[in-house]
Amino acid sequence: MNIKEYENGSFLKPLASIKYLFKKPHTLRYPYEEKPVPDRFRGLHINDVDKCIGCGNCRDICPCAAITMVDPSDIHPIDKNKVGANPVRPKIDYGRCSFCALCVEMCPTGSLKMSKDLIYVSPDADSFNWVPLVEQGREEGYTQSDEITPLMLEAEKMEELEPDVRKKTFEEIVKGFTREQALKEAMRCLGCGICMQGCPAHMKIPEYIQAIFDEDNKRSVKYMLEDNVLPGICGRICTHRCQDACVYNYRGEPVLIMWLKRYATDQLESYKDVEIEKMPPTGKKVAIIGGGPSGLSCAYHLTTMGHSVTIFEKGQRAGGALANGIPMYRLPIYELDKEIKHIEDMGVEIRLNTEVGKDVSFEELLENYDAVYIGVGLSFGRYIKLKGEEHPDVIQAIKFLRQVKVEGRREIARRVIVIGGGNVAMDVARTVVRLQQMAYGGEGTMVQTVSLEDWDIMPASKEEIDGALEEGVIFNPGWGPNQVLLDENGKIRGLEVKKVKYVFDENHRFNPAFYEDQKKVLEGDYIVEAVGQMYDLSFIPKELLDKLEFTPRRKIKVDEYGETTIPGVFAGGDLVETSRGDAISAIANGHRAAIGIDRYLRSKK
């Protein structure tokens, strides 16, 4: 710019502007002319309420407190029973909204968007507050982007032992989070609490993750212990339905809640410093049969409620399947000891090597105690009634695992077939891999599994299947065992299997059918059956057993609080319908039963 030109004003130059008198104005004659609204326009909201899960992240992030979560049923019916969703939807107050679109960025499902429409005038100030719907017919504007999103969609990578290393040892595979990893992972949590719906025990997940983030592990464990007496164990072997419910699943990887739980408990040598509220003693006594997770849970919570509790455990170690079944590489025994120690510290008496029905009778318990809780679990392996099953080299998974974990069995055949596709089958297969590595260095060994279910419906968790595959387990999904083949010496030669037509019939019931003409033979010397377990209630006298009612699926019938049809007798764990066969649901219904027993005892006076 040459400043000289401007120093002397001109009289005539301004008159040049008169040229615009003869030019077309650039006025946009709204509303007769309109200009296109840009694609990213941030206008009034649109919400796909069917997709929305009511997690409330939009409400939490809103800088203007413009969003309230309301039940939209009167204007748009929603599925209120949907798991992993709250039956509420955002209602937006346009007397507050600043159109920053942070709610859109933070929406985990992507249901909330902004429209291109920002024209709303009304003389009624109260009308500026509504639940945005798709039906309102606004055109989509600003949406979230996958590249730039404030949500941390990727989870921390958990460090694990390499397959080649881990398959040679029973050392724990997962190393656990470091402090930095845990803090970063805890940071990811949005605190919406949808995960609590997934957890059978309804643990206070957002709170304990927040405590981890605050680096207050004691507070974190305190929150865990309120609903789950074995947090350290659940931090290792849980089926983590919470993670399946996590809202991050819609757009990325879930928060690794399980590993965070493990991290928090690992930081504490013991739980004795954790502040736990304990109610004054009531003088009531409760007997608990079975020291498995549900029994421990029930006992612990009853103790905190002020009752004195005795656990009768027939084994030499409390913990049930945790102590006997789950392999060391998943759950080290010291971890279990730590938690059981804590339960004992709280005042629970555990009588080991005491089998009800043998060392002490069931009637005695009913007499001496104010309430009895049955949590014996499914301690016997199920047979599939296979031809040749009675051969000594065919073994039940539960027995096999106990032999390895408790009795220290180390000998194993070179070629092993595992029947089953569940988590137990995976445990067996991977245990076998380790034993074979130890015994033979992995030379000429083979582990095969055979399961009715194909890949897509295999009941084992994905992590387990992947772990097994990495360790070299061969899978035969979609085949059903037909008969055990023996060689001339009477040794097992292999297993004849046939192709599965379908596993579930049209009524979605378990009713497998096979192609009888498609058969093959799996070679092997040793067969482990991992096809399910069953319970043993033989300790209950006949006349009482008759009073006990069962459900159609042969589980003990209990009410909401775990009370059976016999007054004062409660049941939980895998014996009841609410169990899903994992530790956490056993812990959960143990807790429920504890509440039920407490109510029962207090009402009895």
Partner: protein, 296 residues
Amino acid sequence: MVIDKIFFTIITPIFAFAVGLSFMMIKLKVSARIERRYGPPIIQPIYNILKLLLKEENISHGVIFSLGPVIALAGSILTVLFIPYAGIKLFTGSGDLIALMYIMVIGSLGMALGAGESANPNASIGISRALTLMLGYDLPFVIIIISVVLYYHTTNLADIVAAQAHGHWTLWSLPLSAIVGFVVAYGALGEHPFDIITAPHEVATGPMVEYGGKHLGFLVINHAFHIYIEIALFVDLFLGGATNVLWFYVKMFAVFFIMMLFDEVYPRFKIDDAVRFFWKWPTIVALISLIIVLVK
């Protein structure tokens, strides 16, 4: 003859108002175009005036305050009657040009009275500016009136118009005076750069600051008369008046159109700059013109 007089006394202000209003309308459109927009509907001023007159409430700061716009309007109407147009002469006689100069001040004084009553400093400043500005442009105005009067040897406006018949316009005979006359009329009209009186950014519309509703309506009507007076006087003095209404209108429009263009492109003067301006070039030129007349 008397009936004629009465008839024209009634019709003249209406004509003047219509002309002023039409100029206001055209100005809205022209300025909008230069500002690169479409502008309001052409009859917007009518809506404005009627709306103002229909305002339900009227706040008054006393009788004088209310009287101000009335006096201003009355003064303007009276002035209109003194200006011959299209061959119609109402109150003409010897010395009417001098009388006219006095009457024209009434409008401003009326405003001054009313605005003074409103006790708003903005209004007082606006009025003092109005009077100062008047002082500014009156000096060259008086000089050119003297030149014209001396040139035509009459103080009768109608005679001056008559003397310019057949294209002997004062514009040709006294071009310097005509130019000064244009500047003075422009300044008196209060368009940019001479809109010092009402300057919204300085004194918040000055004298009108406290006026609203019907009062403001009167002032808007007064503005229409004002436009007519200044331009009609210029046309009569320098462009030879006209023999019919249409021709008179066309001449007025030509003058006004040039004024509109200037209005759009210049910022506003400061009051002392404006007075200095009027007392400098227009006065010098007017004096030269007067000397030329005297020498002739």
